[in-house]
């Protein structure tokens, strides 16, 4: 049974991460390779909050999401100043710098040893979330909440402006919109959502280290998004389900773990190529990468 809960929790986490990436990538077409950095910052801040303060789940989550949001200013600034591949490169640089800081700033992050013994988050100051099934419920609820918010975002006038930025940035600004402000908010929301996935992850596994938040993880998150498809909630859920369940299927097929790990990556890589070439909308997306 725990195995099933584990799958559900991970699908919840990756749904949130894919939705978070969907805001800049799917709506505004800003290909951000720094999503794992937000996820990581969120997870480390959560560990810090859970270890040091005795605050309940929702306020804790909120604080972590907002704080991580401020880190996103570095990326939105880059998206304002830099065009096309220069922005992509800057986001990549940010991702690598964050990893390097998590890995090397041992005084604060404990570096490669990671942070262990993270206490479980508490709901309303008295219910400790320890059992996996509680986490599964939490994960599903948070994913549902994020989906709900995302759904309204896409439909909203705000989402409409993001989509028009994707189409033609100059025309948006000469229609009286401050494009910078929209990009800043988009990344802020993206970082905040990613951070809440980080919170779930840190609370669930109780031990985090920098290797969960590498460039590969950013690519992994984007794979979920592209395989599922851009621009809507459905695509993110499908994508998250695929990337979480697939490795388990490989394990069921009786492949040894080390081979299964490589094989899994090969399948994601192939999927990315095939999606780009033949199915630009992924399995269930509304739009495609431009």
């Amino acid at each position: 049974m725990d195995f099933l809960y584990h799958i559900i929790i991970m699908i919840g986490i990756y749904t949130i991460l894919a939705l978070a990436a969907n805001i800049p990538v799917g709506l505004a077409n800003l290909l951000s390779l720094a999503q794992a950095a937000f996820y990581g910052i969120g997870a480390y801040l959560s560990a810090f909050v859970l270890l040091n303060f005795n605050i309940p789940l929702l306020p804790g989550l909120f604080v972590v999401a907002i704080t991580t949001g401020f880190f996103s200013l570095l990326i939105s600034l880059a998206s304002i100043r830099l065009k096309g591949d220069y922005f992509i490169l800057a986001a990549l640089g940010f991702q690598l710098i964050v990893f390097s800081v998590l890995y090397n700033w041992t005084d604060v992050t404990k570096g490669p040893y990671g942070i262990s013994g993270i206490p479980p988050p508490r709901l309303f100051a008295f219910i400790e979330l320890t059992a996996n099934f509680q986490f599964a419920i939490l994960s599903v609820s948070l994913a549902a909440l994020t989906s709900f918010l995302f759904y309204y975002l896409v439909k909203s006038p705000f989402g409409r402006v993001l989509k028009s930025i994707r189409s033609d940035e100059l025309s948006v600004s000469i229609s009286g919109r401050n494009v910078y402000q929209f990009k800043i908010i988009a990344f802020f929301l993206s970082a905040g959502f990613s951070a809440s996935a980080g919170f779930l992850f840190a609370g669930y596994v109780k031990y985090i280290d920098p290797t969960s938040f590498t460039l590969d993880e950013s690519i992994f998150i984007l794979s979920a998004l592209f395989i599922g498809g851009l621009g809507n909630v459905k695509g993110c859920i499908v994508g998250a389900a695929v990337i979480v369940i697939l490795p388990e299927l490989l394990r069921f097929a009786g492949l040894p773990d080390n081979i299964a790990a490589n094989l899994r990556q090969i399948i994601y890589g192939l999927a990315l190529i095939l999606v780009m070439l033949y199915f630009p909308k992924g399995l269930a997306g509304d739009t495609m990468l431009k």
């Binding site: 290909l31 690598l96 710098i97 090397n104 690519i219 090969i266 994601y268 190529i273």
Partner: protein
């Protein structure tokens, strides 16, 4: 001590230059954000290792095999992935994502074939040359001479040969190039073959000294890209200026602080350049609107 670090940095910088030229060949002419080059670097090292260490051929045969194989693989990536996307008029972001896909697939194929663990070339203790406090190993000396010869040859080729001039013409204006009746398709073949060869040479020279695992490619490629950007994207001389600057800068970081901050500093430099001088040391400002 200072001079020792400068020398080490210079040699590393020249190896970056080679990798950077491999990247620039593709980027300057097609604007492809060619991240899959990272895995070509890895494949090149493993072919070299396999041919020399496993099969026991001499070093030059290994390098030759590696260059040929990598160049062909580079071409295959273009034919199978980039070129079809180009025909579909795919955007640069789409090509980049597919490039990440290629990178992921091939990296894991390498890991499946040769394993995840670190591999080194024989433990023959190479000669050491020293004068005063300065030490240069035989391998380093070889790296220095070989990359110097390669860089000079590359620029002679670029500036003197017909193909080289055509590469520069495509870089300046690929549409005009086609309008004048040249084939961009043929040019892509040349460019990808050369890029593969260049990255393979950079890889063999480096791996022979410090060994490899399936994941060494990406950091090197990122250094190569950073070198091109800080030199000034769009030109080939940038690779030399940027590569050597970066090599020496990293050596100084190691000297002053520690090796672990090398990567972070590299990217801080990159971001500073992107924001303050996106045209690099020698690039020109481009028309914004």
């Amino acid at each position: 001590m200072f001079l020792q670090f400068i020398i080490n940095g210079l040699i590393t910088g020249m190896l970056y230059t080679l990798a950077s030229l491999g990247y620039a060949l593709v980027y300057n002419t097609t604007r492809i954000f060619h991240l899959a080059l990272a895995v070509l670097y890895v494949v090149a090292a493993y072919i070299f290792w396999h041919v020399t260490v496993v099969c026991g051929f001499p070093m030059f045969a290994g390098i030759f095999a590696s260059v040929c194989f990598t160049a062909l693989l580079s071409l295959a990536i273009d034919r199978l992935v980039y070129f079809p996307l180009f025909k579909l008029k795919a955007s640069l972001s789409v090509v980049l994502v597919s490039s990440i896909g290629v990178f992921t697939v091939l990296t894991n194929l390498v890991a499946l074939t040769w394993g995840n663990e670190f591999k080194a070339f024989g433990s023959d203790i190479s000669r050491i040359y020293s004068s005063g406090n300065l030490i240069v190993t035989g391998k380093q000396l070889f790296q220095f001479i070989a990359s110097l010869v390669l860089i000079i040859t590359f620029f002679l080729f670029l500036n003197r040969s017909k193909t080289g001039l055509r590469i520069k013409a495509v870089r300046d204006d690929s549409e005009l190039y086609q309008v004048l009746g040249f084939s961009l398709t043929k040019m892509r073949v040349t460019v990808f073959l050369l890029s593969g060869a260049m990255i393979s040479l950079a890889s063999c020279l480096t791996a022979w000294d410090i060994g490899m695992d399936p994941y060494v490619g990406m950091p090197i490629l990122l250094n190569a890209i950073v070198a091109l950007i800080i030199g000034g994207a769009g030109r080939f001389e940038s690779c030399v200026i940027g590569g050597i600057t970066l090599g020496i800068l990293q050596a100084l970081v190691v000297w002053q602080w520690s090796a672990q901050w090398q990567e972070a500093i590299t990217f801080v430099v990159l971001i500073i350049f992107l924001f303050l001088r996106p045209q690099g040391f020698i690039g020109e400002k481009s028309r914004v609107v």
